[in-house]
């Protein structure tokens, strides 16, 4: 009987906590720049930091030319966004950088972003990576790490 109660308690405590979190909407933001040491070879394929700077420069040009994303970037602090993106990509690809920006929920909280606009950014990034001859497989390794961020970036139905 005692064992039964103990067992029950072991399960109930975490379950209650989980339920409480769900009910109150407590949700820890994901790490916006998880480092992947194993992706360092991909970092090299991107041309290291200089390569990322060049790619992100073109990404920003693409985002401003793209009618689907222009509104978010045209009047924003582009220089700052570019620095944060380079650091974010750099850390994710196992490069020697530090991401000092906010998490993805906070960064995008004031913007209304739908799934289509998120995908638009992916296409604009693909175009920038193509321009700098990043091999397709290497591109996909970065995109695979960025794609799940849709859960925090996309805030419109």
């Amino acid at each position: 009987m005692n064992i039964y109660r103990k067992t029950l308690r072991v399960f109930i405590a975490p379950a209650t906590l989980l339920l409480a979190c769900c009910l109150t909407g407590v949700q820890a933001a994901e790490n916006p720049a998880p480092a992947n040491a194993s992706l360092h070879p991909v970092y090299v394929q991107f041309g290291e930091k200089a390569g990322l700077v060049a790619i992100v420069d073109d990404l920003m040009i693409n985002l401003i030319r793209d009618p689907r994303t222009r509104a978010f970037f045209a009047d924003a602090d582009q220089k700052h966004i570019k620095i944060e993106l380079v650091d974010q990509f750099c850390v994710i690809l196992g490069g020697p950088c530090t991401y000092t920006g906010k998490d993805m929920v906070k960064t995008h909280a004031k913007l209304k972003i739908d799934r289509a606009q998120f995908n638009a950014l992916v296409e604009d990034l693909q175009n920038a990576m193509d321009k700098h001859h990043v091999p397709f497989r290497a591109q996909n390794k970065l995109l695979a790490k960025l794609a799940p961020m849709h859960r925090e970036v996309v805030n419109q139905p």
Binding site: P67, A120, D124, D130, F136
Partner: protein
């Protein structure tokens, strides 16, 4: 004959509805021609966004032989067209399969709504060429069937959920109506129409540039319904396994292979599982071309049927 005409009317009506929806759903960005700067290399921005949904290239799938979004032989859990969850997408396709003793003409349309539900309409015409003479049906005797399909995504996202093991999952049904009832009953089929039910799981492993699909189909169809449904050997639903594997070579080029198992309901002829190996090229979201080598095995009195599969898809 009337039924055939009705189908054609429905078919073309559907195409027009599709095109109409297309116009309505077009993004109203016409005033926003990209500013011409000297950064021309930063990508040729065509006005493609004006007339196409925002799924990523090729992630709307191809049109499988029964009209659903998928590979060539099997449906995928993908909702067809390029519409994301607040958009409508659609496409039309024509597929021709030429094997030694037969050929198949196959055309259809589909519409994908809010990346949630897909409706498709297809017509298959299976030409028996000289086999028709051998069977006493006449040269180029043709078996036709109309297929109405519906598919619903019930969980997951094949493309964006890259940190999750959960694939995109969809359930679907394909109602098929064959127009050669008398011939089908003569060869032992129990019915000229039937419905297949399937569940598909599809996932893009982006870091590996690989797409995997597994589908289980519950069916009574003989040669996917071209030879009717049920037979003298079996007349019950049996689960069949179908699978696709695709490797992305670039954003607009993919190669892959497929397998589709089939039941054996008819006493007059053994039925083989199908295989294919394909290459697909999608220069834009509006068009894709697929070339495959298909192995269809035994079909009635002719064994070892294999040959080319060519498919053209246009859409948005």
């Amino acid at each position: 004959m009337n039924q055939l005409r009705l189908f054609h009317a429905t078919f073309f009506a559907a195409v027009f509805v599709l095109l109409g929806t297309h116009a309505v759903c077009a993004r109203a960005d016409d005033g926003d021609a990209p500013v011409d700067t000297d950064t021309s290399a930063a990508t040729a921005y065509s006005n493609e966004y004006v007339v196409v949904g925002d799924k990523l290239l090729l992630t709307g799938g191809l049109s499988q032989v029964e009209g659903a979004a998928g590979g060539g032989l099997t449906p995928w859990a993908i909702i067809g067209g390029y519409g994301t969850r607040d958009q409508v997408g659609g496409n039309a396709y024509y597929t021709r399969v030429d094997v030694q003793d037969y050929h198949l003409d196959d055309a259809g349309v589909l519409i994908g709504i809010n990346n949630r539900i897909e409706f498709s309409l297809a017509k298959q015409r299976f030409n028996t060429e000289d086999v028709g003479v051998a069977l006493g049906l006449g040269k180029s005797f043709t078996l036709s069937q109309n297929i109405f399909g519906v598919k619903m995504r019930i969980a997951g996202d094949a493309v964006l959920e890259q940190d999750s093991w959960l694939p995109q999952i969809a359930i679907g049904a394909q109602y098929k109506r064959n127009d050669q009832s008398a011939v089908l009953h003569a060869i032992g089929a129990q019915s000229a129409n039937g419905t297949d039910f399937y569940i598909s799981a599809t996932k893009l492993y982006m870091a590996q540039s690989l797409l995997l699909d597994a589908t289980v189909r519950f069916t009574k169809a003989n040669q996917i319904g071209l030879l009717g449904f049920g037979g003298d050997l079996h007349d019950s639903y049996r689960p069949q396994f179908e699978g696709s594997l695709a490797y992305l070579l670039s954003r607009n080029l993919a190669i892959g292979a497929e397998y589709r198992s089939k039941p054996n309901n008819l006493g007059i002829a053994r039925e083989s599982d199908w295989y294919d190996a394909f290459i697909t090229w999608a220069p834009t979201k509006h068009v894709s071309l697929t070339l495959a080598y298909a192995y269809l095995g035994n079909i009635v009195i002719k064994d070892n049927q294999r040959g080319l599969y060519l498919s053209v898809q246009v859409g948005f």
